[in-house]
Amino acid sequence: MSHDITTILSSAIRLSVPLLFAAMGEYVAERAGTLNISVEAMMLSGAYAGILGSSVTGNAAFGLAWGMGIGVVIGLIHGNFTHRLQVNTFVVGVTLNVLALGITNYLFASPELPLTPRQASVLTVPVLSDIPIVGKPLFSERWPAFLLYGLIPVVWWIMQRSRWGLELRSVGENPKAADVTGIHVNRRRRQALVWCGLFAGLGGAYLSVGEVGTFNSNMTAGRGFIVIAAVIFGGWTLRGAVAGCLLFGGADALRLALPALGYKLNPQLLIAAPYLLAIVAMCFFAKRVRQPGALAQPFERGAS
């Protein structure tokens, strides 16, 4: 029994890690008031670029870096279109998602680019991984997953304690007031999108280079949208977003594990669970939890 629990927990953590990386980006972007559904594009291209990078360089770490790089490129495109040219963020997001799906599929099918990917190796922390039940899931992972232990506190510190984070939050909460105090609203939002691209790209690259070791067509399969759901489910708090990712990763793990264990639970319900829970969370915590005041609303100086 405890063996089963450990197995399910391991798989839950493994499925959560890509979500967590991307959520560290998406959380920052949404707090800055920009709702970029292109996070799916960032993850998908990150996954492909990761595999391509590790094939070209022969090194998993460089693969991850390539994934982050392509995420930044998409963040820059999204940022400049929405927060410089003032094109609607969903137009840009939908377009970038279509573009990323098209390009990754196209390149993946192309015989000119054969892939010989390297997978990141498993790192097992000596003593901690011997803790019963939770030891193995938490301390025996592909090495990039351990970056999260540092990244989550860093994101918390940046958003809650640094000047940049305060400015990002004010830009998301009340852009007009932020503008009056001399903060360049759209520049901050573009920076938030670049940050988002950095970590959504890493999340995608972790999925391919870390977890699976290869690329498949439409590999992320809507994980970017699950990340958005997790940030919403978490009520736009970092703690909540992390909990959301773990919960949704857990739901995914249950869906895969339950049939093998002989239980029957509606698989469709488990796939839909993240989205359902996000909507339910918005309904019932509406009074207590509030979304950033200017979420997904464009800002233009001088326009009322």
């Binding site: 279109f81 094109v87 137009v91 099918a109 919403i232 509606n266 796939i271 909507i279």
Partner: protein
């Protein structure tokens, strides 16, 4: 005050901050905007060609194939029309919601639900073919409207953004459809002999299909196109001329004024969102009864997203949705010819996305320039007089 206003695409040309002086200047600006459009589309096509060339393909043969597949000859044009039909229907509905200031982006899911409810009627209801067909299309519209009604209800009941809830509901819709197709008592196909049962529905019987005019070598199109064009014209006229259209536009342009004038955001806005869902659902019904004939788990196949893009490019203008939808349809019809060249049909998606960016760029760029010029002038003017509130 107008915080709830939705800015879709680039701001309207007409909302200029600085009057362009003289006819000459206006003509020059118009010319260079056209040049900018041409340049942007050129860049988009150039990038696509470069991608093809870089992966060992021939851009010219790709172009020829796409041309042959979309507009070269009446038969190909028929493909274009059939591909454009659902996009057009989705786009018209979206325009209605956007006009009312509500941004429904869940068409992909509403289309899937509409196809499911339509399929339920088409497959399970007996009776004379034409009657069942009409009932099936009506059911698909109702299904889509109900699915879009959820975000509308959440918006007025709990104050949840329509954008977010309609987005999340897409993925729930997919699972509802998947559930229907995985259960034999619901919509999964009936076992025939010893064949394996797939996660699909049965085919819609030939009596319950939308008529198709013409045959391949000549001009041919499904009657869904007629439905789409009629709806586009009706919606365009209603929005421009009727009292309902006036209230709708007032609500979208200034919700506060609308409330003062007694326009119910709940009634007008909620209805607008449901109308957009109904159109998306109807598009699903049309695809089911005129092209796909059976439901599959990936039935919506990006049609909802593409229809949304058409609406966003047509920018609140139902009539303009027709040419934009035709253009998208042509790209998709042309793309289906690419497989003969051993070029992945995914190239269509790439070209389509790049072209969308190329089309939204020029107006947005011009608007940004005009806006910056206006600010500079306002600041210069303010510097000369007493300290005044500049630009608010």
């Amino acid at each position: 005050v107008s915080e709830t206003l939705v800015h879709v695409g680039a701001p309207e040309e007409s909302a200029s901050y600085v009057p362009v002086s003289g006819r000459g200047a206006r003509v020059r600006s118009g010319l260079s905007t056209t040049a900018l459009y041409v340049a942007c589309i050129g860049v988009a096509l150039g990038l696509s060609a470069a991608l093809v060339a870089a992966t060992g393909g021939s851009p010219s043969s790709v172009f020829t194939a796409m041309y042959d597949g979309s507009v070269n000859g009446w038969g190909s044009f028929g493909y274009t029309l059939d591909n454009a039909t659902p996009l057009l229907i989705v786009a018209i509905g979206t325009v209605v919601a956007v006009r009312a200031g509500f941004f429904n982006i869940g068409q992909e899911g509403q289309l899937a639900i509409g196809a499911m409810t339509g399929g339920l009627v088409a497959l399970k209801l007996g009776g004379p073919g034409p009657l069942v067909l009409i009932l099936a299309l009506a059911a698909s519209a109702v299904g889509g409207a109900i699915w879009a009604g959820i975000p509308a209800l959440l918006r007025f009941w709990r104050g949840i953004d329509v954008v977010i809830s309609s987005l999340l509901l897409i993925f729930i819709a997919f699972q509802v459809l998947s559930y229907a197709l995985n259960n034999s008592w619901f919509l999964q196909e009936q076992r025939v002999g010893r064949g394996a049962v797939l996660n699909e529905s049965d085919q819609v019987s030939s009596h319950v299909r939308l008529p198709h005019y013409g045959a391949y070598p000549g001009l041919n199109f499904g009657s869904g196109l007629v439905i789409g064009i009629v709806l586009a014209v009706v919606v365009a006229v209603l929005m421009a001329r009727s009292r309902w259209g006036f209230k709708l536009r007032m609500l979208g342009l200034n919700p506060v004024v609308a409330r003062r004038a007694g326009v119910s955001a709940f009634l007008i806005g909620g209805t607008a969102v449901m109308i957009s869902g109904a159109f998306a659902g109807l598009a699903g019904g049309v695809v089911l009864t005129s092209q796909a004939y059976r439901l599959t788990p990936t039935f919506s196949n990006n049609v909802g997203w593409n229809g949304l893009l058409v609406a966003l490019i047509a920018r609140q203008n139902a009539a303009l949705a027709i040419p934009v939808a035709l253009f998208f349809g042509a790209l998709q019809a042309g793309g289906s010819f690419l497989s003969t060249l051993n070029v992945s049909t995914d190239l269509t998606n790439i070209v389509q996305a790049l072209l969308v960016l190329a089309v939204v760029f020029p107006t947005a760029f011009r608007e940004l320039q005009r806006y910056r010029r206006g600010r500079a002038q306002a600041l210069a003017g303010a510097a000369g007089t007493a300290p005044a509130a500049v630009g608010a």
